[in-house]
Structure formats: structure tokens, C-alpha cells
Symmetry: D2
Subunit: 248 residues, 4 copies
């Protein structure tokens, strides 16, 4: 059976502030998280572009959004700097069918909070802890090519309660050394689009060079890129010519 690759057009959006301001982070991601991801995903047959917060319109022009099948999002310290008009456009694109992969601290991104409708709050701790992301749905295509768990020697802890709607499909649950658990791979269907939240990726750890993490992101892109059904029509529907009592 052939391996499916979607050839999706992917835009990787990154805040790109830490990498330019914090020497520790610059060392880990000298070209920025967006370019590390772009390189890490190079072998998957996607058409990858990048966009960052400080570009005009955050790089998310109408043209870019219209030609993006899946948007990958990393943000952390400047969620408030994202323009509300752009958030609105991204939101509409997702409901129209664009996939969205939200990474790590993107749980507090305006676009993720808008789509989830909850606070998206969680517990956190930076203590170089080991994380194990256990696969809880081995049938799910987002888990393809992954073993029973992914082990990351050092990550920032995120712990429950994670204030999100129950995922339509829960794929990963994480274990942290310090005693916490976290629903770390969460898939949602929203409108004609698909959203996947994936936890790992604190900026000071080389997480986005991990081949399992990259595999999951690639799987998520393929999952989110899959075409669904026709765009529904909404609004007033005329009286049908049949089937209404007394009006046939």
C-alpha cells in the first residue's frame, strides 16, 4: 500500500522574537524556529513557505492565506501583537477548509483561543524535565511511523487541567517527571477545517530537530490537508416543491 503524501502547501508562521533577542534561543534556532521546521519537514513533499510576526501583515496576506492548505503556528511572548484583523482572516480560512497546526505556547495564540472558545490555560514549569508523549490512539494517522511513545530528554512541563474542549480525537498524552500529565496531541474538526494542537517545542530546547516530533507534525499536516465535502450553503432555503403538507 502506498504511503500517502498530500503535497500540501504549508505556511509556517513563527513569532520569531526569542530567536533574535535571547542568545540561548539563538544558539538552538539560529535561523528561527520557522526555518528549522522548514528544513526538518523538507523530505515530506510539501510546498513550504514561512511568515513571521514582524513582517507586513505578519506575512499572512490574503494571497498567502488563499494559497495555504495548512498553517503551522508557533508563538509565545507576543500573542497580543497579532493583529485582530489577521486573526479574523485566519479564522475564516480555517472554517473554509485551511488546516491549522498549533504548537506549544501557541495554546495562548488568539487564533487558537478563538477556535477553542475556552481559556486554553494550563500549568507550566521550566525545569529541564523529561517528557514522554504516549500514543493513546495507535489507529490514528497522526501517529504513523511513531513508536509507543516519544521521549524528549528535556522540555518545559505543561500540566492539566488544560482548559480546552475535549478533543474530537485524542492522539497523545504526556508524562512529566515532576508528576503532571497533559493531553499533548489533540485533533479537532471545525467548519470545513481541521486543527491539531501539538505540545512540544519550548524555544530553549532542540525539540524541532527531533525526528519523531517532525514526523508527527508532517502527519498532522497531511491529516489537516485532506479535502472534505462541498462547501455548505447557509441561510434561507426556499419552500421545496414537494413534501410540505397542503402545498404540493
Amino acid at each position: 500500500m502506498t504511503e500517502s503524501t498530500s503535497g500540501a502547501r504549508v505556511t509556517i508562521w513563527n513569532e520569531y522574537r526569542h530567536e533574535r533577542n535571547n542568545p540561548i534561543v539563538t544558539k538552538v534556532y539560529p535561523e528561527g524556529i520557522h526555518n528549522a521546521l522548514k528544513e526538518g519537514l523538507a523530505s515530506y513533499g510539501f510546498e513550504i513557505g514561512t511568515a513571521t510576526l514582524d513582517e507586513p501583515q505578519h506575512g499572512l496576506t490574503d494571497e498567502v492565506l488563499e494559497s495555504t492548505d495548512v498553517l503551522v503556528w508557533w508563538g509565545h511572548m507576543a500573542h497580543d501583537d497579532v493583529d485582530d484583523t489577521i486573526v479574523e482572516k485566519v479564522h475564516n480560512r480555517v472554517l473554509q477548509g485551511m488546516g491549522l497546526i498549533v504548537l506549544h505556547s501557541g495554546h495562548y495564540a488568539k487564533i487558537f483561543k478563538k477556535l477553542m472558545g475556552t481559556s486554553c490555560a494550563l500549568k507550566w514549569r521550566e525545569a529541564d524535565e523529561k517528557e514522554r508523549l504516549w500514543v493513546v490512539n495507535p489507529s490514528h494517522p497522526i501517529a504513523a511511523g511513531i513508536g509507543e511513545y516519544i521521549e524528549l530528554p528535556q522540555e518545559e512541563m505543561y500540566g492539566e487541567h488544560f482548559d480546552i474542549p475535549a478533543p474530537d480525537e485524542l492522539v497523545f498524552v504526556s508524562w512529566f517527571e515532576g508528576g503532571e500529565v497533559f493531553r499533548s496531541g489533540c485533533a479537532y474538526y471545525r467548519g470545513q477545517g481541521k486543527v491539531f494542537y501539538f505540545r512540544p517545542g519550548h524555544e530553549s530546547y532542540p525539540t524541532y530537530y527531533n525526528k519523531d516530533v517532525l514526523r508527527v507534525i508532517a502527519n498532522a499536516v497531511n491529516w489537516a490537508a485532506a479535502t472534505g465535502g462541498a462547501t455548505p450553503a447557509y441561510g434561507h432555503v426556499p419552500v421545496p416543491l414537494e413534501r410540505i403538507r397542503g402545498r404540493e
Copy 2:
């Protein structure tokens, strides 16, 4: 086994514009939809108050919100007139544990759209059509005391695609004469709160005098009023005294 009644403190919020402006509607609900519901729910042991759009702060003062266990919401032609600050407060109360029952055209209410994160769009038609609300989860407490379906001789048709997240629990699916179906009883867990969307209730039909419809609303109030677990703590968690490698 004893029947459970929650004695919940209920606030019924109603737009209350149609009943005062449209003689057809005034005839059906002379005291307003909110008072019809209040009377209809009188036998269920709730503590019921009402609030309407044109009251100061839409009747949803901090005091009212803090002392409301379940908020019932009916709105249609003036969703935009609902103050964003009030919407924000209601949203916070839901995440803190207040139940929310959204009726009929409330699918376009700001609070419902905010909680759902989708457009909440649908198809509609006013043609005095028969509606059958089929119970698809006979195990669910919101269906208590209801038969296999509720039949309403005349209602406004709402049809799929209904742009909402897949309900955590789908309780009713409606059939309409004209050929449409609609997920008409949809339950969600959001934060510490619970939300139930219930479709029937076009203002020109006496739907809120129907004892089965009232039973479902009462069941939904009891379901949404049920207490859950402790309020989670969010934010930074200190390094635990044990279990971190090299720090014991």
C-alpha cells in the same frame, strides 16, 4: 430511586423585542418568552429569575451572574445589541461553572458563537413545517421523561450543515417535512461549565407551552447545574521537592 431535582438558581434571559413589536408574537407570548418559560418550568423546583436585553446591563449584573447556576438564553433579531462586556462576563461565568442553555435562534448569539468558535450558521425556512425531534441517546439524562421523539406540529425549519463543533453528547436529531435534518439537542463541557443547545422555539409558534419541550429544558437545567470538581489552578508550578532528576 428518587428523582433528582437540583433546586438550581436559573436566570432566563430573553431579547423581548418581538413580543413587544409584532402582534402575531404578542398573541403567542403576551408576557414575553421569558415569562412563558418561567411559568412552564414552575413545577421543577428551580429558583427562577428573568432578565431582558433592554434592562440596564441587560439584567445581567455581576450580582445576578454570580448567583446564577444556569442561564437560559433566547435571542434573535438583536444579537448585536448585546454588550461585549456583558458577553465577556457571561463567558467567564460559564468557564467558572455556570450552566448555559441556548435556545433556537440563540445559535447566533455572541455568547454561543464565542463558546463554539465556529460560525454557527445553518439553513432555515419558515413554512409551518412539522418537526420531529428524535432521541438518539436514550441513556442521556436530558432525555428523561421523553418518548422516542417529540413532535411539534409547526416550527421553523433549521437544517444541516449546522456549523458547530461535534457535540460532546448528541441527544436529539430533528426531522423536518421539507427534507432537512438538524442536530437539535447538543451538549458540551466547557471549562467548569456545561452548555446545551436546544433548537425549538420560533417566536410565532406556541412551542414553549409544549410540555415535552419544557421537560427537556428542565432536564438540561438540572444537567448543566450539576457541580463538577475543584476549580483548577493555572500558571507557574514550582519545582516539586521530589522526582526531578538530580534534585532530590
Copy 3:
């Protein structure tokens, strides 16, 4: 973006009794439902084999099962004639990763009831009724290439309550002329496998020549064929060398 085809190895299992015993059915499916489906799916790039009830081991030998990515199942009047040992093997294969598409009256097949754990009972009526299968999740890949609904001029009615677990993903809900609704496209993750129940296909109607019905079955095959994660290990796990208090 490229259209994904899985090249899956598909086995179409058919009871094949009606077509040989009932002239009305023979007329609709002269080569049997299995061959009509095989022809109808010919353009989708699958490797298709067939198997029927009255073949030795119902055509589901260990060799066939081991080399099947997705099994499609149609049965109606002879569910009891299916050997329990074969059912057991099919069940194991699904939990190991084989996809399963169950059609129409297959809701009472031993394998479907075993996987669902419920009675799988429903209401039915043969009255040449029109059926509309509405897409309720336009984001779902099983709805790819389909419009807002599929209309079948004549089908056997199946109505709620359909005693199944709530689908992990509900894709279609049907409307019938006579007043019933039915959850007609239901997707489940079970073990490492995926199951899709699809309602249409009464033996006396030419349903399996309908291009939309065939498209959904093909979509479902691709969905069910997708590889997931590694096969989990179960059972006793030795004490880890670290992280157990007092044993490091």
C-alpha cells in the same frame, strides 16, 4: 495538492444469497453485490478481491485476512451462518489494523455487533422511500467529493434509535420521507483499526451503482487503510531502572 489514493488491498465480502435466490435482486445485481462494488470501485486504484459466505471459510482464509488492508462487508439474511471462528479472526485483524467498512444490513453482522458491544438494533420499513444523506461534518475526508447531501430516490428506511455507541466521528445523517432520521455514516477507531458503518444498500435497489455512494465507500476505504502508530506492547512491564522511589 495531490489527491491521495492508498492503493489499499481491499476484500469485498458479500453474503451472496439474495442475488441467487430472489429474481428481483438478481435483476439488480446479476453478478452479485460484491462484483457490482468491485466494478464500481475500479477507478480508485485499489487491489480488490472478493469473498462470499458459501466459499470455504467464507473466503476469509488466514492468507486473505493477512493480506487485506480493508474488508468491506455486506450481509443480511444469514448472519448466523457466519462461522464464529472466522468472526474471531476478523475481529483480531481489525484490532491489529485492518479497516472494516460495514454496509447496510451488516449492522446485524456478528463482526459489527462484536465490535460495537451494543444490540445494533434499529427501526426499518420497505416502502420505496426517498433518502437524503446529509453531510454533517464537511471537514471529514470520507465526505470528499460529495455535495451537501446524497439523494437516493428509493431505499429501505432505517430509523433511530440506532443502538450503537456514539460514533467517534459522525459524517452523515439521513432523512427519510416517512418521518425518520438515522445516523448513516459512522466512523470508529478500534484498537489499531478503523471501522466505518455506511447505511445505504438494500438489495432490491440499484444503490451500489450510484456514483456518490461509491465515492463514499472509496473514501472510507482510504480512511480505514491509513496506517497508524506502532503495535503497542501489552502485559507486564519490568521495574524501570530510574524514577521509582528508593530504588535508583
Copy 4:
């Protein structure tokens, strides 16, 4: 708002072999797990009876089953000794509306496997490990009166992958010292009944004296005891007097 108590008629079924054969276990549960649970649940207003494996018909006579609102089940080393006819009766009762709470090693009970349709396999280890059961749905009534997590100083580890269907409602996720996670509080709607799987309770630890564990079981009993809608009718439905084209 009044606290809801269902006054449910509860039958606690226990294998009751370990307590009589293993001195370590006898010490922890001298009267048997069933009586420890009965005492522990004494303040919740239930009508509690017990039944054990070695009683005639395992204590689950037709009379007992008909008058049981919620059945609690603990079994471990003798699942095979449970009579298939009794399993069938329990299964039917659940589909008719009896609640079922399955504890700990009951994951391999015939009745649980039958209802789930999967292998229900998992990983395990006996190493006196600490367990933390985190609440992942603080809105759920099964979490009522519980803090952010329940900590058990010593329990037997159960780890993912736990081969069950995705719970309709996931309430608890456990953390274990040794590196594993486990979906430890799983709620399902099946037919007219409700099933809750709750992990803790290895026979050699005093888990069933823990007041939080007892609180969860009591909450689960109330949740599972709640009445739903009318018993659906299944089977052939006559042609309706209206709404069929050409037959009005």
C-alpha cells in the same frame, strides 16, 4: 442548590477469591472488597447489596438484576469462571438501563470486554508506585467534591496503550512514578445504560478506604443511575398514513 443523591439500588459484585486465599489481601480487606466498598459508600444514601462469584448464579439472579439500578464490578483472577449466561443477562440489563461501574482489574471482565468490543489490554507493574489521578474534565459530575487530583501513595501501575474505545467522556488521567500514563476514569453511554471504568483498586493496597476514591465511585453511581428517555421500539415500522409519495 441541593446536592443530588439518587437513592440508587446498588449491587456490588466482587470475585472474593484473593481475600480468602491470600493472607496479604485478607489483612487489607478482611470482609472482602465488596463489604469494604459497601461500608465506604454507606453515607451516600444508596440501597446496597452484594454478590460474589462463588454464590449460586454468582449472586446475580434475575431478581437481583431486575432490581439493580447500578452494578459495581471487581474481578481479577477468575474472569473465566463467570458464567456466559450471566454475562449475557448483565449485558442485556445494561442496554436496558442498568448502570455499570467497572473497577481496576475488571478491565478484563467478560462483561466489560463484551461492552467495549476491544481487547481491553494494557501494561501493568506491581512496584508500590505512587499514582496521581488528574481531573481532566472539572465540569463532569463524576469529579464532584474532588480536588485537582487524587494521590494514592501505592498502587499497581496500569499504562497506555489501554485498548478501549475512546471514552464518550474522559474524566481522569493517571500519572505513575515509573513513566506511564493511563486513562483512568472513562465514561460511556451504551444503549439505555451508562458504564464507568475506574482504575484504582489493586487488592493488596487499602485503596477502597480512600475517601476520594469512594467519592468518585459514589459520583459514578449517581451518574450511572440517572434515568434517560423511553425504551426505544425496534424492528418493522408500518407505512405511515402520510408523507409517502403517492400514498397519502
